[in-house]
């Protein structure tokens, strides 16, 4: 099958049962997408599928064919999110970070004001888990990313 990842077409041969996350990580070497639970709860595996955040542990690779997949490695060089995450100490171990970055990239692209309202922001961030930071830095980074021009 063909897979379009970060703007590049890849020819891959995969079993129908293989999760998109495993194809990204093991077959394409894009190990920035992490696996924290493999059952759809933690969000560390979040990638964008046609711009929408999805959990790549729950998407079969075959389902992604014909769609555009974007991973953390595909964030634009001038994307402000990685920089504001570092600046606001939104990470400690960093394992959850790619998932939060992709969650926010998808949400901000759809509606940049989502980070301006505390309730909406918490509802959004509550889709993913972080065990290290207590989320304060992630909240602050998200707000900062919203107020900056892309």
């Amino acid at each position: 099958m063909e897979l379009d990842v970060n703007g590049t077409r890849h020819e891959v041969t995969v079993e129908p049962r293989r999760a998109l996350a495993d194809v990204l990580r093991e077959d394409l070497g894009l190990t920035g997408t992490h696996l924290g639970c493999e059952h759809g709860v933690c969000g560390t595996c979040t990638v964008l599928l046609d711009g929408e955040p999805v959990r790549s542990c729950l998407v079969l690779a075959v389902q992604a064919t014909g769609h555009e997949v974007r991973t953390v490695e595909g964030l634009a060089d001038d994307d402000p999110l990685p920089g504001v995450f570092a600046e606001h100490h939104a990470l400690q171990c960093g394992f959850c970070t790619p998932g939060f970055l992709m969650l926010l990239r998808g949400a901000l692209d759809e509606d940049p004001t989502v980070v301006d309202d505390d309730d909406r922001l918490d509802a959004l961030l509550a889709s993913n888990l972080c065990r290290c930071t207590g989320y304060e830095g992630i909240r602050n980074a998200a707000r900062a990313a919203g107020t900056r021009p892309d």
């Binding site: 079993e15 049962r17 293989r18 495993d22 990580r25 070497g29 894009l30 190990t31 920035g32 997408t33 992490h34 696996l35 924290g36 639970c37 493999e38 059952h39 709860v41 933690c42 560390t44 991973t71 953390v72 490695e73 964030l75 999110l81 990685p82 920089g83 995450f85 570092a86 100490h89 990470l91 400690q92 171990c93 960093g94 394992f95 959850c96 970070t97 790619p98 970055l101 505390d118 922001l121 918490d122 509802a123 961030l125 509550a126 993913n128 888990l129 972080c130 065990r131 290290c132 930071t133 207590g134 989320y135 304060e136 830095g137 992630i138 909240r139």
Partner: protein
């Protein structure tokens, strides 16, 4: 922080990200039941499945030694890497399948047939039917401090007698356990681990290798929180498989395994008695802990930490604690952030709050009357508190909490709760030492230290520390840790010890390097070292000068030892309880901790917030659910074991510090990793108790986690 630019661009290298040619994948066959005789393991079908390279059972590991316990007993029953004739907890590893792909390894693992004859299991601490034929179910019993005199109880104005439960918690670093083993000489082990030198010793010991024949490297690690310091049975099985096959093998744990088969924290039934006089002077504390330690004595002795801490922040003449550690048919109980101290703070601080309610005294005033004020202070159960101003810390907490603001008519039941704690950081005798070295290389300086980051910014903080010590910019200092091939010895990262012990070791090494450089320069110049000054990496004497790089290679080491330090803090919480549903909302949370001198406020702030979140997890949402026999009842994984999300974090969060330097540490530093886990749970439960008491509710029915149903039931008159 250093490395953040990699981690935010997806360029981290966690164990599961490593690519090694020809690497095989391991999947474990595990016991589906808590307790059974293991009569047979049938691998016939599984071996025929595609991609399978090998299947190992206990019979294949007879030349591998026992799994080392970390805080075991003097007489621990043997613990085999793969079960032999009995399984003693759900998830216990029985066989390991090695295949060319994880899916196929799991297929084959599912095709292995176990012949099991069930035995009764028991999840609760207490005597059962002998989990080990030659060992009592009571793995360890220990007493701390002299018993409280009978007359003290008889003559006291009031005696509080309470029982609490510390539920089992799953540490749940988002990266579960992971190991990749490359056979050869040395055998190279990549592992997400807190204690690489301990893992090296564990593997070398079990495989009959010299320590130098094993190299442990910790790549980026996705959290640990105490759970990643042992030499787990799975690691020995994977090492044996790599050795036998002569191929690299990796094992990446999945979340179901992490929740059923990996170690857990807490797990104590507590009985606390407190005697006080009419003014609220505490006369005696008696704490009895019955700990459910799981099926193997990995952490059997850890509840002793709870007993040692039984005085908490109070000068109490009589304190006595007993610990009984019981085998249970569930995964081992081990260290989890705080490891024994959160349990003690909970027991004492809940009971002290009950005492205040009984006496009609303000809980803060009651505490103030009893706080330790003179240092050093020797507690009856065997601690020597080094320093502090506990009262100032409590006062600062109250200032930020503004308890009076929340009194009076309010729309919903509202409660204010506080808790004080004292903890021990740095570790216990045996690990109260650390290795540090600093080397001059032509391009700059390299610090090496025996700690191991699993998410803490050691590279940033330690490089800065060395740079400040040497008077050079931080960007010429490289910091190496987490690799036994690079750092000769070390005790790892736990017990909030890294900056306190590792930082001090590096500071000592930097000082030694300066001395050595002055000596060598003096020798060159025919002077005495007293005539040579160190000036930001340049040696000077009169008009002579010599950049230290010209003395390269130059190397200095330091082994730092010291008694433990005693961080402390006061936590305050305001809660609102939904009268119809029992749901608890935090309106404010105040944390005032004393970590001694703080080297990097951003780093400690991060530790404080993270441990607060984990404390909120324990008190509000988390708990391993077991049936009576010890089988986990969490079919939906992290939908059943609920970690706090951003939505659970209070918005009004006030974090502050006092800073009384640690007298036994050259940097004045105390540990900072575990405070929130210790202070938050009792403060929250005390606040909920305060909210439901006026409604006629019964705080003794509150137990963690405070789910809406628990709170709702406790608030019914």
């Amino acid at each position: 922080m250093r490395g953040d630019d990699r981690l935010t661009r997806g360029r981290g290298r966690y164990t599961a990200d490593l690519r090694v040619d020809g690497c095989l994948e391991a999947a474990f066959v595990r016991s589906p039941v808590p307790h059974a005789d293991l009569l047979g393991v049938d691998t016939t079908t599984a071996r025929t499945l595609p991609g399978v390279a090998a299947i190992l059972t206990a019979d294949d590991l007879t030349d591998v030694g026992d799994v080392p316990t970390m805080f075991g007993t003097d007489d621990s029953p043997p613990w085999r890497p793969l079960a032999t004739d009995r399984v003693r907890h759900e998830g216990e590893a029985v066989a390991v399948v090695i295949a060319d792909d994880r899916y196929r390894a799991e297929d084959a693992a599912a095709a292995v047939r176990l012949d099991l004859h069930r035995r009764p299991g028991h999840a609760a601490p207490g005597r059962a039917d002998r989990l080990y034929p030659d060992h009592d179910d009571l793995a360890l019993e220990k007493e701390f401090g002299p018993p409280v005199a009978d007359t003290t109880w008889q003559e006291a104005h009031v005696v509080i007698d309470s029982r609490y439960r510390q539920q089992l918690l799953a540490p749940t670093s988002l990266e579960a356990r992971a190991i990749l083993v490359e056979p050869g000489s040395p055998l190279t082990v990549h592992c997400s681990h807190q204690f690489p030198h301990g893992l090296r010793t564990g593997i070398a010991g079990a495989l009959g290798l010299a320590e130098d024949d094993v190299r442990v490297i910790v790549p980026d690690a996705g959290g640990a929180f105490g759970s990643k310091s042992p030499t787990y049975p799975e690691y020995l099985a994977v090492v044996a498989a790599a050795r036998d096959l002569g191929r690299p093998v990796r094992w990446v744990e999945d979340r179901t395994e992490a929740l059923t088969a990996s170690s857990r924290g807490r797990g104590q039934d507590q009985h606390v008695r407190i005697a006080a006089d009419v003014d609220g002077r505490i006369l005696a504390i008696d704490l009895q802990v019955d700990a459910d330690i799981g099926a193997h004595p990995l952490g059997a002795a850890l509840p002793g930490q709870t007993a040692l801490a039984a005085s908490e922040a109070y000068a109490v003449p009589e304190v006595h604690a007993t610990v009984r550690s019981w085998f249970t048919t569930t995964a081992p109980t081990y260290a989890y952030r705080g490891a024994g101290r959160p349990e003690a703070a909970y027991a004492v601080e809940r009971a002290v709050d009950e005492l205040a309610a009984e006496l009609g005294l303000d809980p803060a005033e009651l505490r103030r009357r009893n706080l330790v004020r003179d240092f050093p202070y020797d507690t009856p159960t065997g601690r020597r508190y080094d320093s502090g101003d506990y009262a100032a810390c409590l006062d600062r907490c109250l200032e930020l909490l503004e308890p009076d603001r929340w009194r009076g008519e309010r729309e919903r039941p509202t409660g204010v709760g506080i808790a004080c704690y004292v903890e021990r950081s740095g570790g216990e005798p045996g690990i109260l030492e650390e290795y540090g070295s600093v080397t001059v290389e032509p391009a700059g300086f390299t610090g090496r230290v025996g700690t191991s980051s699993t998410g803490q910014p050691h590279r940033t903080v330690f490089a800065q520390l060395v740079a400040d010590r040497l008077g050079v910019p931080a960007d010429v200092v490289d910091l190496v840790e987490g690799d036994t091939g690079e750092v000769p010895e070390g005790h790892g990262t736990f017990a909030s010890r890294s900056t306190q012990m590792g930082g001090a070791a590096l500071a000592g090494a930097a000082d030694a390097l300066i001395d050595e450089a002055r000596l060598q320069a003096a020798a060159r110049w025919g002077l005495s070292s007293g005539d040579v000054a160190w000036d930001k990496g340049v040696l000077r004497a009169g008009t002579r000068e010599l950049p230290v790089a010209e003395l390269a290679p130059l190397h200095a080491e330091h082994r730092f030892t010291s008694p433990p330090a005693f961080p402390y803090g006061s936590y305050g919480v305001v809660v609102e309880v939904d009268p119809d549903l029992g749901a608890v909302t935090l309106l404010r949370l105040v944390a005032v901790d004393d970590y001694g001198t703080v080297l990097d406020h951003t780093a400690t702030h991060g530790q404080t917030l993270g441990s607060i979140a984990q404390g909120l997890g324990q008190v509000l949402t988390e708990g391993v659910v077991l049936d009576d026999e010890g089988a986990t009842v969490m079919p939906d994984g992290l939908l059943d074991y609920l970690l706090p999300t951003a939505a659970e974090m209070p918005r009004d969060l006030r974090v502050d510090e006092t800073a009384v330097p640690a007298p036994d540490n050259p940097l004045g530093v105390k540990g900072a990793g575990e405070a929130g886990c210790i202070g938050v749970p009792p403060a929250v439960v005390n606040a909920v108790a305060d909210a439901i008491r006026p409604l006629g509710g019964d705080p003794s029915r509150l137990r963690m986690p405070l789910t809406p149903s628990v709170v709702w039931e406790a608030m019914q008159p």
